[in-house]
Symmetry: C2
Subunit: 376 residues, 2 copies
């Protein structure tokens, strides 16, 4: 456990940290961004492209994989890594967020949550215990506990209830985790999730409860759900002030390049978001020179490389004009190249942030970069 996470350096002028996760022999430099691979594939990316970009940790969604292909299939294949032929690491979420955001029907109780599948309407029941067992079947390197997510805005009473329930479920999750073993020979780690919405005292209460339990890491949940950005930063900062120095901190579902840099400054180590992949498929390209709407007619004749600032074949050797053509002609290769570019950019973003933290220049670099992005 000692070597699971190590902080290498904390910035002098802010809370930013550079470190390492070590999962089943694979070292993952932090801060880290995890591409989202909902159904066991990061949409439009060949696994070889993810290796090329040096992604070592991707995310899978327990809720989605439970429904399709189903855990019977994943079990037969002896875990998600085998099923999807992925040599690096996987973090799986618990399905808590999906159950609360994707479903027309859900029934919440202290025992767990009943919900209907968004695919065929069939009824299912998740408990903190079953979700740990589902993730034993998935065999992810890091699993998340089932949490009680609330929409934004929510009233104080509802958020307070979610904090209490998430704590109770955390206790049950840890117990189930302790009383069970990995199925496929991979060591598994488990993270708690802090709730509390945008209420500072409820966040503190949630933290207090979870910190009394021995999780391998802590996630900040319930942000990036519609609250103002300043609120997100305020709550993140409150959490990172109270979270232990020696455990990884994961801000779930965040976010834009600026969000990520601001939250790295606040001491967050891990991020995931559909933004680079989903927006890429919609034609929004993130580059070291700023954002591009690739369908814009002004790019029709552009011979500029997609992003000469990134050191890979696709960013350097395909042009903006060609990428625009692929989108206009509805070609799949457009989705492939856009996703590749955006994930190359996100990788560059966190890798450069890490480098700058180590060299003591993080804030200076970050402020310049954000300015650059805003002017664009």
């Amino acid at each position: 456990m000692k070597t699971f996470f190590r902080v290498e350096k904390i910035a002098d002028d802010c809370k930013a940290r550079a470190g390492f996760l070590k999962l089943n022999g694979i070292e993952i430099p932090t801060p880290v961004f995890m591409p989202v691979g909902t159904y066991g594939t990061v949409k439009a990316m060949l696994p070889s492209s993810l290796y090329e970009l040096d992604y070592k940790l991707i995310l899978g969604n327990t809720y989605h994989l439970y429904l399709r292909p189903g855990l019977d299939v994943i079990k037969h294949f002896e875990g998600l890594h085998n099923f999807i032929n992925w040599k690096n690491c996987i973090l799986t979420d618990s399905g808590g967020y999906q159950v609360f955001s994707l479903q027309s029907f859900r029934k919440l109780s202290e025992e767990g949550v009943e919900f209907s599948s968004h695919i065929d309407g069939s009824k299912h029941f998740f408990t903190p215990e079953s979700v740990v067992q589902h993730q034993r079947v998935l065999g992810s390197d890091i699993m998340m506990i089932l949490d009680d997510c609330v929409e934004y805005p929510a009233d104080y009473g509802r958020v307070e209830e979610s904090v209490e329930r998430t704590y109770n479920w955390a206790v049950r999750s840890l117990k189930e985790f302790a009383n069970s073993e990995p199925l496929w020979g991979r060591k598994q780690f488990i993270f708690g999730i802090v709730q509390g919405g945008t209420f500072p005292d409820l966040r503190r209460r949630s933290l207090g409860g979870l910190l009394s339990l021995q999780f391998d890491g802590y996630a900040i949940g319930g942000l990036s759900v519609g609250e103002p950005e300043e609120k997100m930063y305020e709550i993140t900062s409150l959490c990172t002030d109270l979270l232990p120095i020696d455990k990884p901190r994961y801000l779930m579902g965040v976010g834009t390049p600026q969000n990520i840099l601001e939250c790295i400054e606040l001491g967050v180590d891990m991020f995931d978001c559909v933004l680079p992949t989903r927006n890429g498929r919609n034609g929004q390209i993130f580059t070291t020179r700023g954002k591009i709407n690739i369908r814009n007619a002004k790019y029709k004749f552009s011979k500029e490389p997609i992003d000469p600032g990134l050191n890979n074949e696709i960013s350097q050797n395909f042009t903006i004009g060609y990428l625009r053509h692929l989108f206009i002609a509805d070609e799949i290769l457009g989705l492939q190249l856009a996703t590749y570019q955006n994930l190359a950019f996100y990788k560059w973003l966190v890798a450069t942030a890490r480098e700058k933290i180590l060299s003591g220049l993080f804030r200076y670099w970050k402020n310049n970069l954000i300015l650059n992005f805003k002017e664009n």
Copy 2:
């Protein structure tokens, strides 16, 4: 010109040939299969994947590229190779087939053909001369003449007319070709197209005319348009009997693995078809063990590699069960892997055919393989 095409060996027991095309310094072993890259992309394939599979010659559609992105764009990028960042070779068709198959409106005259865009209905006019010039702009390594294509079935009179017109247009095409120069420093070659439908005497007449003109190679057009397979083989054989030994023969738009093998036996050197890519995207997988409908429920738990008979990462390391899941979940990676597998298979098919021709075992191997495919 002497080194443009070379026959290395002709089988003793059939008309199959192994040879080489040499286009702008790139050697292309024949028989060759050309993946179709309509809009300047082989759908769902990263160019790096095409290099991996050692594809050296792909096809682009003049009609489609003329409409989107438009030749002004391609000209600005100094040719199709540059525009799509493709280091190997490109053959472009003339648009003849598309004008005759995709359009609701077309008006044929001796001068050329007027048609409406399938995208926005706008009116355009192609002549044999303009189509040569379009392909000068595209800068393809091999260009095709504009031909007068007929649907199947068509009456004798209409086919006779198409043979005459295709000959007249061939004369004009060659003249335009001789009186113009490549624009981008790549040597360009030009192929005539034999028409004549399923009428042996008209095929002979078409051949007689075209062979009096000095084309670099000859295509057999107007087949694989709905006629019985036996008819296709009969006409192909008639053509290869009369075509010169020392020039490449290209059977347009063919076909299934069996079609390709039969026509290699009949002495065809070059093929193109949307089958492996289009059917791949629809979930039909070609493997060395036969065809697979990947959506079939029986594959849900299959741990078999997609195709252990092919020597590449994707065919060997991803399973049938995972590929099925990707299709069921409508994941883009499914289209990517299926296309990759099918093109790996088609490459294997023609490369192995070539090897067997050289070793004198072509017919034996071919008959076994076709039997195997039928039993499957």
